[in-house]
């Protein structure tokens, strides 16, 4: 309770505060995309032949695909040949211990509030830090290994646990799933890998912090999380990028696999650089996130707070294959200035008695455009499937837009699907009421938006919720004038 207030007080007039550039020597692949570059990346990472083949298949599929144009977002064409597809801090070897990390990299993460020394970290959070294309550090690995939990970079998993990677990579998001997923499959450089063995409840939050640093690069990370039977894991993801004038492309893929009785909770606080007030620069965020409840009674829960990026295109989804499995999607998407977001979820009910719940809160300010797009699909065999969707939009000012595109496809008569939607505006009455109680307008807006988002915020782990509240307040500064 008191936390909310402290945070709102802390918020002072500041712009994007993660916009700094670190001076780290990087190794860059030449710009452009062709089979040579893909071989180069694969070789750099010392990958097995099957993976190179998989990448090449993806590349060939991608070449035949077209950029999707159905989303409610508008941007000039992206020149995929002008981008660098590989950027890595120059130091050849990944440091063996956390003490060996390049001090500049260490400082970068410290500035972001992510100290890479275990003793300084929050006791309950293990961190994988990803800078540009590579994972630079993973904390608490040994401690987790005692329980049989694997938490490492994707590159490492490919070397150390090739069977697991081969079995599950692309099993939820196939290499040719969509334009951006195919691109990612061809050129992904790193990301996080998690495996939780049967019956193990992961004792700490696992977290990956993504940071884009290099200019004119794309970031294509790939995350794979497998929760074996009866296990539980909570995973957090945070992201920031420097302020640059040009747009940068981020096209990630996340795959979650929850086996029988397993539960995965995946939380994101996305704060990529959104561009300046005139809409110059900012990250293009085209992300494919999907989970599968493979066995009965499995549960996957997505919680996202999306405040950054010039463009957000992202639909974390759940395939409810196992009987009695549960999918959840809790989302706050905030857009300001010229930001555009088209985000939502897909809940695919296949198993019997499957349940899904969608709570989406969209906040639009400035000249931004914010769309919720969601699909609830109940297949023939999904007896007694249930879905509840709630999509609330809040408008700040009158130059922004909020849109809701719900798609419902039901092939089984026993299904119950509910959809509720509201649109509200921060009115002068509300602001005056708070002003009259001594609360200045910016703080009042933060209070109102936090209240509006409360239902979603409460699903975030404590530390993340605090961060998210701050972000919501900061992202709206200057939006009411």
């Amino acid at each position: 309770m008191s936390e909310d207030l402290k945070i709102i007080e802390e918020v002072t007039g500041s712009d994007y505060k993660y916009g700094f550039v670190s001076n780290i020597e990087e190794e860059l692949a030449p710009p452009g995309l062709n089979e040579e570059i893909i071989r180069f990346i694969s070789q750099k990472k010392n990958e097995p032949e099957w993976l190179l083949e998989w990448r090449l298949k993806a590349f060939r599929a991608w070449q035949k695909m077209k950029e999707p144009k159905w989303a409610n977002i508008h941007y000039p064409p992206i020149d995929f040949q002008s981008l660098h597809y590989y950027a890595a801090p120059k130091k050849q070897q990944r440091p063996k211990s956390l003490d060996e990390i390049d001090p500049e990299i260490r400082r970068t993460f410290e500035k972001l509030g992510i100290p890479l020394e275990e003793q300084k970290l929050l006791a309950g959070v293990a961190v994988d830090a990803v800078l540009d294309s590579v994972s630079v550090a993973t904390t608490f690995k040994e401690k987790l290994a005692e329980l049989g939990i694997i938490f490492c970079s994707m590159s490492e998993a490919i070397q150390e646990h090739p069977d697991l990677v081969r079995k599950y990579l692309g099993s939820v998001v196939p290499y040719n799933d969509n334009f951006y997923a195919a691109l990612n499959s061809a050129v992904f450089s790193d990301g996080s890998f998690v495996y939780v063995p049967p019956g193990v409840r992961c004792p700490m939050e696992l977290s990956t912090y993504f940071r884009i640093n290099a200019a004119k690069t794309g970031q294509f990370e790939r995350t794979l999380i497998i929760a074996d039977e009866g296990s539980y894991v909570s995973y957090l993801e945070g992201c920031t990028a420097p302020m640059r004038d040009e747009h940068q492309l981020h096209a990630a893929v996340v795959e979650l696999i929850a086996l029988k009785d397993a539960e995965i909770k995946y939380s994101t606080v996305q704060n990529w650089y959104p561009g300046d007030k005139e809409g110059k620069g900012g990250i293009y965020n085209f992300v494919t996130k999907r989970g599968i409840c493979k066995g009965p009674n499995a549960k996957i829960s997505w919680t996202q707070v999306e405040t950054g990026s010039a463009i957000t295109w992202k639909y974390p989804s759940v395939i409810l294959l196992g009987d009695n499995s549960v999918g959840e999607f809790y989302s706050i998407a905030l857009t300001n200035n010229h930001q555009q977001a088209d985000t939502g979820t897909k809940m695919i009910h296949i198993g019997k008695n499957t349940r899904s719940r969608i709570v989406s809160k969209s906040i639009a300010a400035g000249k931004s455009n914010n769309s919720y797009r969601g699909l609830v699909r109940v297949l023939k065999k999904a007896e007694n499937a249930r879905n509840y969707s709630q999509c609330d939009s809040m408008l700040i000012g009158n130059r922004c837009g909020a849109h809701t595109f719900p798609y419902i496809e039901v092939e089984n008569k026993t299904a119950t699907v509910e959809h509720e939607a509201t649109v509200s505006k921060i009115g002068e009455d509300m602001l005056f009421y708070l002003n009259q109680r001594g609360i200045p307008t910016e703080e009042a807006v933060a209070l109102i938006v936090n209240g509006f988002s409360e239902e979603v915020l409460q699903h975030l782990p404590m530390e993340f919720a605090i961060e998210a509240r701050k972000l919501l307040a900061i992202s709206l500064e200057g939006s009411v004038g």
Partner: protein, 266 residues
């Protein structure tokens, strides 16, 4: 009688319009610390406009006149500066803030006011004690404090909530805008009792009401009658009774007969 004291609120010849329609046509009023004033008048006479203008609502155009609060030019101050200076308005129609608990709201308000006055944020223990006492005074349980501001509150709860906020924020001057409307007799007594028991901590009240009913429980030092944007008559509490007995029509005839009317109390 109050020559040694500085007035808390001085309104001089205030003319106010909204959408080109003049509502206030020369209001004069002076309130000293330790006084309770009541403004009565028929609907549309400008009572609530006066309250809104004093609190700093933006939809109004000040055509003429001056207002001083505690020695400062009130009309130059933002609504939150006025609140920090100790001016409180109990709203006639309180606003709902979904998802924001009463505790969060009260603490934010209190700390913003403290910050403006160069004070440290209040510590949690003192705050909770203060809020619980205030809730008790208004006959509201602790669970009330967990609820979202005004969301799903009954009419009576909304009005009591305004007084709860007043009890926590402890202003110098509280303006109660038709706080009595929509209250049943029991709730009215609770509110009146709270207002009376806070008098002293809160230096002065300006009570705006349509009916005399509330004034049976909160005894005003002065009663002013507002009619067509002006204070047309001022007196002691007996004026309220007279008004109640004769009705507002009586005023109309008096005003029309253009009798010289006192416009201030001092």
């Amino acid at each position: 009688m109050h020559n040694e004291k500085q007035p808390l609120l001085t309104i001089e010849n205030l003319h106010v319009a909204v959408d080109d329609k003049q509502i206030l046509k020369g209001v004069d009023l002076t309130i000293y610390p330790g006084e309770i004033h009541a403004i009565m008048g028929p609907n549309g006479s400008g009572k609530s406009t006066l309250a809104a203008v004093l609190a700093g609502r933006e939809d109004y155009t000040i055509l003429q006149g001056k207002v001083f609060f505690d020695g400062k030019d009130l009309l130059e101050m933002s609504p939150e500066e006025r609140a920090a200076a100790g001016l409180f308005l109990a709203f006639q129609y309180p606003v709902e803030i979904p998802g924001v608990s009463m505790l969060t709201f009260l603490r934010t308000a209190l700390n913003e006011i403290r910050k403006s006055n160069g004070e440290e944020p209040i510590d949690t223990r003192t705050f909770l004690q203060m809020v619980r006492e205030a809730a008790q005074l208004l006959g509201l349980g602790n669970d009330f404090l967990q609820r979202a501001v005004n969301v799903g509150f009954s009419g009576g709860e909304k009005k009591r909530n305004e007084i709860l906020q007043m009890a926590v924020l402890r202003p110098k001057l509280a303006i109660l805008d038709e706080t009595d409307s929509g209250l049943d007799i029991d709730a009215l007594k609770i509110v009146a009792n709270a207002v009376n028991s806070l008098f002293g901590t809160i230096q002065s009240y300006l009570i705006i009401t349509h009916y005399q009913r509330l004034l049976n429980y909160i005894e005003p030092d002065y009663v002013h009658v507002m009619y067509d944007g002006k204070i047309v008559r001022s007196g002691d509490k007996t004026l309220a009774l007279e008004l109640e007995a004769k009705g507002y029509d009586w005023l109309r005839s008096e005003t029309l007969s253009s009798i010289e009317l006192p416009s201030t109390t001092t």
